[in-house]
C-alpha cells in the first residue's frame, strides 16, 4: 500500500455512480424487445401463422414490412411473435441452469471433500459432451418440442454454473467474514444463503447474461436442425432454417429474424458487460 491508488479507492455511497455506456445501450436495446416479447401478438400486424398463398415470397413493402415467406405469412409479424419464444427460451433455460447449478455449486464449494468430489465428477461427465451434442442427445430421446429444448439447454449449462458457483464459493470460504460467521456458530444454511449467496450474485448475474445469450443461440441452433421449436411456430432459428431454400429469391425471410436475433444478443451482451462494470469493477473484459 503505497501510492494513492485511486482506481481502487473505495467508492462512496453518496457519490452518484455513472452508468456505464454499455449498460445504458444494452437496456435501450432490450427494453423494446421486452415490450415486444410481452405484447408481440398484439403489436404484430398479422397473426403469425396466417397464410396468404396469393402473396407468398413478397418482398418488403407497405403491406408486409419485411416481406412474406413461402406460405405468404408476414415475416415481420412472425419475427415479433418469435421474440417471446427466444427470450423465454434463453431466460427459462438459464433459470433452470441456475436453479440446479447454484445449489450444487454451493454445496460442492462449501462441503468440499467427498461431496465436492462426487458433484464435480458428475459435472465432468456432463461436460465431456459438447453442448450441442448434449442438447441433441436429450432431444433425441423424446419427440422434439420447445419446452424440451429449453430443459435440454438448461441441463447443458448446469456444469458451467456449478463450476462458477463452486469457484466463487471456494474463494469466499477463504474470506475472513465467512470465518467470522463460523466463529459465531452460524448454521451452514445461514452461511450459504446469507453470507455467501449475496456475494455470488454479482458475478453470477454477469455470467447469467452470457448464459442467456448462449441459450438463445443454442436454442436457435437446435430449432435450426429441427430439434427445437416445431412448425408452424415462429421461432427465429426455425424461421431461418425454413428460409434456407428460398434465401436467394427471398433473403428477407432469413434477414428479419437474423436481425432480431442480432439485436437481442448484442443487447444482452452489452447488458452483461455493463453489469460486469457495475458489479465487478475488477474485471476488465469479457469472454
Amino acid at each position: 500500500m503505497t501510492a494513492a491508488s485511486p482506481t481502487r479507492a473505495a467508492s462512496s455511497r453518496s457519490a452518484p455512480k455513472r452508468w456505464p455506456t454499455s449498460l445504458v445501450l444494452g437496456i435501450a436495446l432490450l427494453a423494446p424487445l421486452l415490450v415486444v416479447a410481452v405484447a408481440g401478438p398484439w403489436l404484430a400486424p398479422y397473426p403469425y401463422d396466417e397464410m396468404n398463398i396469393m402473396s407468398r415470397l413478397q418482398p418488403p413493402g407497405p403491406d408486409f414490412w419485411f416481406g412474406t415467406d413461402e406460405y405468404g405469412r408476414d415475416v415481420f409479424s412472425r419475427t415479433l411473435v418469435g421474440t417471446t419464444n427466444s427470450l423465454v427460451m434463453g431466460v427459462a433455460a438459464t433459470a433452470i441452469s441456475l436453479l440446479v447449478g447454484v445449489p450444487l455449486g454451493l454445496v460442492a464449494g462449501y462441503g468440499r471433500g467427498r461431496t465436492d468430489e462426487i458433484i464435480m465428477r458428475c459435472m465432468d461427465v456432463l461436460m465431456s459432451f459438447p453442448p450441442i451434442l448434449l442438447g441433441i442427445l436429450v432431444l433425441a430421446v423424446t419427440p422434439p418440442a420447445l419446452w424440451k429444448a429449453v430443459v435440454a439447454i438448461g441441463i447443458v449449462y448446469v456444469p458451467q454454473v456449478v463450476r462458477l458457483t463452486r469457484a466463487i464459493t471456494l474463494e469466499l470460504m477463504q474470506e475472513e467474514f465467512i470465518t467470522a460467521a463460523r466463529l459465531r456458530g452460524e448454521s451452514t444454511a445461514y452461511i450459504l444463503f446469507h453470507e455467501i449467496l449475496p456475494n455470488i450474485w454479482p458475478p453470477l448475474a454477469v455470467e447469467s447474461s452470457l448464459r442467456v445469450v448462449f441459450a438463445i443461440l443454442l436454442g436457435a441452433a437446435l430449432s435450426f436442425i429441427g430439434m427445437g421449436a416445431q412448425p408452424p411456430s415462429s421461432d427465429w432459428g426455425l424461421m431461418i432454417s425454413e428460409a434456407r431454400p428460398f434465401v436467394e429469391q427471398a433473403p428477407w425471410i432469413a434477414l428479419c429474424p437474423g436481425l432480431a436475433m442480432g439485436i437481442t444478443v448484442i443487447g444482452i451482451n452489452l447488458l452483461g458487460d455493463g453489469l460486469r462494470a457495475v458489479l465487478d469493477p475488477r474485471n476488465t473484459g469479457g469472454h
Partner: protein, 706 residues
Amino acid sequence: MTALVPLSAAASPDPTPATAAMSALLEVRNLTINYASPRGTLRAASDVSFAIRPGEVMGLVGESGSGKSTVAMAILDLLGEAGRIDGGEILFEGTDLRRLSAGQRRSLRGDRIAAVFQDPFTSLNPALTVGRQIAEPLVQHKGFTPRQAAPRVEELLAEVGIREPRRIAQSYPHQLSGGMQQRVLIATALGCDPKLLILDEPTTALDVTVEARIIELLAGLCESHHLSALFVSHNLGIVNRICNSVCVLYGSEVVETGRTRDVLARPVHPYTKGLVAALPRITTDRRHRLSSIPGTVSKLSGPPDSCVFAPRCPFAEETCRRLPQALRGDAAGNSVRCWKAEALSGTPWPEESTASRPPATPPARTAPLVQVDALRKVFGERRSILPWLRRDGTVAVDDVSFTIQRGEVLGVVGESGSGKSTIGRSLLALIEPTAGTVLFDGADFVKQAKEGDRDLRRRAQLVFQNSAASLNPRKTVGAAMERPLVLAGRQGEAERREMIAALLTRVGLPAAYADRYPHELSGGERQRVNIARALATDPEFVVCDEAVSALDVSVQANILNLLADLRDELGLSYLFITHDIAVVSHIADRVLVVYGGTICEEGPIGRVLRPPYHPYTEALLSAVPRLSGAEDGPEPERILLEDSTAPPGGGGCAFRGRCPRKLGTICDERAPPVQTATDGHRIACHIPLAELAERASVFPELAALH
C-alpha cells in the same frame, strides 16, 4: 537550529541551488503529480522536491497514500495512464528527464537508473527463468547476446549472495524463496552498473530475518558500488538502518527532509514527531500507552489550501488551516514544511493519558482459561485411489502445548510458515486439530464447537488481520454486528441497535457508522468495527491474528491502545499472533516464539527479550530494525540467518537448517529438550542453558530498565 529560509521560493532564480543540483545525481524539483479518477483529480504529489548526491541513500518515508511510490514511479517514467505529471522537474545528472523523449527515458531505465520493487514474487515473470530475466537489461542496454550474458548473470547472482548461481539462473521464480527472489531482482538491477537505484519497499513482503539480510546486502552494495539510492519505505527502522538522508512525505507533500540521524532523532515537523512517537519499541514499558496520531489522511483533491496535516495536528492553529505551507531549509540541509517548526523545537508529541491505566499486575494463578495440550495439525494429507496422489501432508503445528490465564495476553511470534495462525485457528476450532486437545474453561472446545455450542463460541472470538476481508462487503456495519447479538438471543431490535451504538462508541467510532458499508471506512475504522463485532458477544478470550499488521504505524498505535484498554477494562485474555516483536513486546505478558510449527522458546516477555536466548529468538530479535541511534545507544552486531527454507521435517530440531549455532547430528536426529530457565521461561534447544546464557543481550538498553 538556525533560521529557516523558504527553499522552494529560492529554487530556480538563485544560482547556488543550481550548482548544488549539478553535484546532485538526482534532483526532484517541485514535482506535482495528479491522478485522474472517476470522481475528479486526486493529488498524488504536490511540490515535491529533494536531491540525492552520488553515493547517498535517501529514504522516502510515508504512510499509505502519502505519494511516496508515485514519486518513485514518476522518476522511472512508469506512472501508468491515470497518473500525470503536472509540473516540476526530475533532473538526473543535470538533465530533466521530462524533456527527454520516451525512448531516451527508456534507455536510461534499467541502465543508469535501476529499480527493485516491493513484492519480488509478482515482479518476476512466472514464465521465464530468472537467468533470462536478469540478462534482459544486459542484452537491451549493453549489447550482450544472451549467450554472452550468461556468465555475467552468474557473476551477478554470486554477488548478491546466491550460492549456486548456475542452477538458480535456470530456475523459475516460483522455485525460489522470497529472499532469493529479492536477490534476483537486486541482481537484475545491478546488471548494467547503474548510478541510481530506486528501491520501492524492497523488503516489505519479506520475513524479518530475511529482511535483515537483504538490507545488509543492499547497504553493502551501495557502499561497494558507490551507488545512490532512493529507498521508499514505510518502516522508519529500516530507513534508519540504511539511509543517509530521509524525506518524509505526508498527504502528497514533503513535510520534512534532512539527514536521517537528525530527522528521526530530533523530528521537527509535528507529523514526524507523531510518527516516531507512535512506533512501538521493545524498550518501552509494555503498560505504557503508545502515542498515536488521531484521525486519518484527508482526501486529496484540488490544490492544497492549508497545511495538509493540520486536521490531525495537536499543535495546529487557525493559521495552519488557512495557509498552505512552504518547505523551508536550514543551513545543515534539513528542511521542514511547518511555519511553527522553530517554536515547536524541543516540544515532544503529546503523551497519551495513562491515568486510567492500572499498574501491571501478574495474572492470578487460577485455573487457566485456555489449555492447549500436544496440539498437532497436518495439512494437505490426501487419500486417493491413485497411488501417486497419496500424500503425507505437511506438519503445520507439531506437539504444541501452552496455557493462557484469565486476563493474560499471550503473544505468539513467528515468521511466515511458523504455524502461528494455525495455532490460533485451532484454538477456536476453525481448524480441526489432527491431534491434541484444546480446553476452554475446562471444556473441550473443539468437541463442543462441533456440537454447536454457541455459548462457547460466544466466549471466544477472533480479530482478523485483513480488516476488509473480514467484513461481508454486502452488509452494513450494523448488520454485521447485529448477527452475534441475534445469536446471543437478543430479541429486541431496539435493544440491539442500542447495543451496537454502544459498542461502536466503545471502540471509538460514531454510532452513525452502523449504517455504513465496509468499503466506506478506512482500514483503521474497519479494524475497530472488527473489534466491536468481536466484543458484541461479550467474550472472555480473543485471538488477535496479526490484528495490527496491515495498518499504518499511526493507526496501529491507536488499535494497540484500544486493545490494551479493552483488556484492562473488560479483563479479556488475548492470544496475540504477530510477526512483529516490537508489537508483541508492547502488549503481551508472555510470549511463545514459534518456528516450523514448534515452540522454541516460551516465557514472560521480559525474560524472552533477555538472555538466555534460543538461537532463533536471538536472531529474530537482532534482525528487528530499530530507531536506535543516539537515543538507544550503539547498535549491536546482527545475527544473520540463511534465507528461509522449508523446515526439514522428520525428527530433530525444526530450526536446524538455518541455525547458526547448530551442534551437529544431535540437532538432526533428536527433538531438542525443553530447558527451564526461570519463571516459566523455557527454551527448547540442545545447547545447554548456561551456554545460551553466555550470549550478550540483543537489547543492552533493557538492562537499565529492570
